[in-house]
Amino acid sequence: MNRIYLDHNATTPVRPEVRDRMLPFLGELFGNPSSAHSFGQEVKPHLEEARQRIADQLGANPAQIVFTSGGTESDNMAVKGVAFAAEKGHIVTTVIEHPAVMQAVSWLVKKGFEATYIPVGSDGVVNPDDVKRALRPETILVSVMHVNNETGAIQPVEEISSITKEAGVPLHTDAVQSFGKLPTRVDDLGVDLMSIAAHKIYGPKGIGVLSIRKGTRIDPLIIGGAQEKRRRSGTENIAGIVGFGEATVLAEAEREQVYARLAALRRRFVTGLEASLTEVYVNGDAARTFPSTVSLSVSHVEGESMLLSLDMEGVAVSTGSACSSGSLEPSHVLVAMGMETVLAQGTLRFSMGRGTTEAEIDHVLEVFPPIVERLRKMSPLTRSQAC
């Protein structure tokens, strides 16, 4: 059997159709779209076409679409940009955000801003009432992600937006994990700012968008040659931009069909796991989870040792923690859901994609239980102590 990739929340392969659309821009269509001559002008319509395609997907005006270098930059731009434009104030966010939002907020706190972090329930979902209670007269921004990258938990962004609208506070959502997978029209979600990235939907790495509703007060993060209507300077990564446009259209075309497939695969996988293993816990509430993701906590075994063992079998997954390479802390998301740290340490994230098959899931169901057994045998926690 070929290797099995179950880490689509980390990144996805570029679809061949996307790559084919990009190639001319690594070839003859190399002009700088800001140039007035034909080499530049022949590129520009492709830039604007991609912008239109993404705008259509978001139900936005193309003027709202600002190309960035990825989800992290979009998040930084949204959070810091609103803060810098306001000069001071209070930010409401959650305990389960991606580090790109979390770190941007905590950096601002060091610079004198204030922040409130909304908790989540054991299902990993934010309660809109908590957002309402956290608002203050000096609140300048609410930032709540749409789908959590570790658990797949879908957050009630629409409900939160009715609260922020009433309060007149701009709402940012990190939709990096939901764009192209769930409906993400900015008006339906009611958000003013939305971060998205191409490489999560079979587009290239290094390209993202921040959608900015007209009238939102925001400083640019990267300034200079005044590209993107002064909101994001730098010679445009036209190959990446065109690839993002293509990936967006392709994702939308199959979105509902992929959702249905993933939902069926997830049921098969979870059922299989629960049948073949004891003391394993699928995190979150299936009804509120985007079905690509299975966050699984396994008692008495540490995550990386399972990851490596699966990798030896050709199965690629990640641990629950945000930065599997490096951080030894248990995942802040799982801890926020109230999990004891030792169990959080034993968490794997399986994330399926458009190409995941039943045969792959069945293969994982075959190789995974012996791995857990073997590692449990090696564990000092199994018999003697529960920690």
Binding site: S305, V342, M378
Partner: protein, 125 residues
């Protein structure tokens, strides 16, 4: 291709001396599940010589590999020799560890020393 050296992966794949010793002469445990690693070392000692050593580990790849390696390094050695084995020496014997793994996940020698200490205390040596 792996974040770990071939040697680490080899020990991870085929760890030496896994398990418990019944009625051990000494037991040492270090680490803390919250930070992701617990290592437990069991010793059988005769005439100040380590006749048997086994480990149990909850932890990442390097935690398991260092545990395995340390048991291999001290099997048949005198206690005095075993006490000379450092975490650093274990890492080197594995052709190095990723920088982020040098702290929490490289405690196997500490577990060994704790087991020797336990033996000495129990047996007044």
């Amino acid at each position: 291709m792996s974040m770990y050296s071939e040697k680490v992966m080899e020990h991870f794949r085929n760890p030496r001396n896994v398990g418990e010793i019944e009625n051990p002469d000494g037991v040492g445990e270090v680490g803390n599940a919250a930070c992701g690693d617990i290592m437990k070392i069991y010793l059988k000692v005769e005439d100040d010589i380590i006749r048997d050593v086994k480990f149990q580990t909850f932890g990442c790849g390097s935690a398991i590999a260092t545990s395995s390696m340390v048991t291999e390094m001290v099997m048949g050695k005198t206690l005095a020799e075993a006490e000379q084995v450092t975490n650093k020496a274990v890492a080197e014997a594995l052709d190095g560890l990723p920088p982020t793994k040098m702290h929490c996940s490289n405690l196997a020698a500490d577990a060994l020393h704790a087991a020797i200490k336990d033996y000495r205390e129990k047996h007044n040596k």
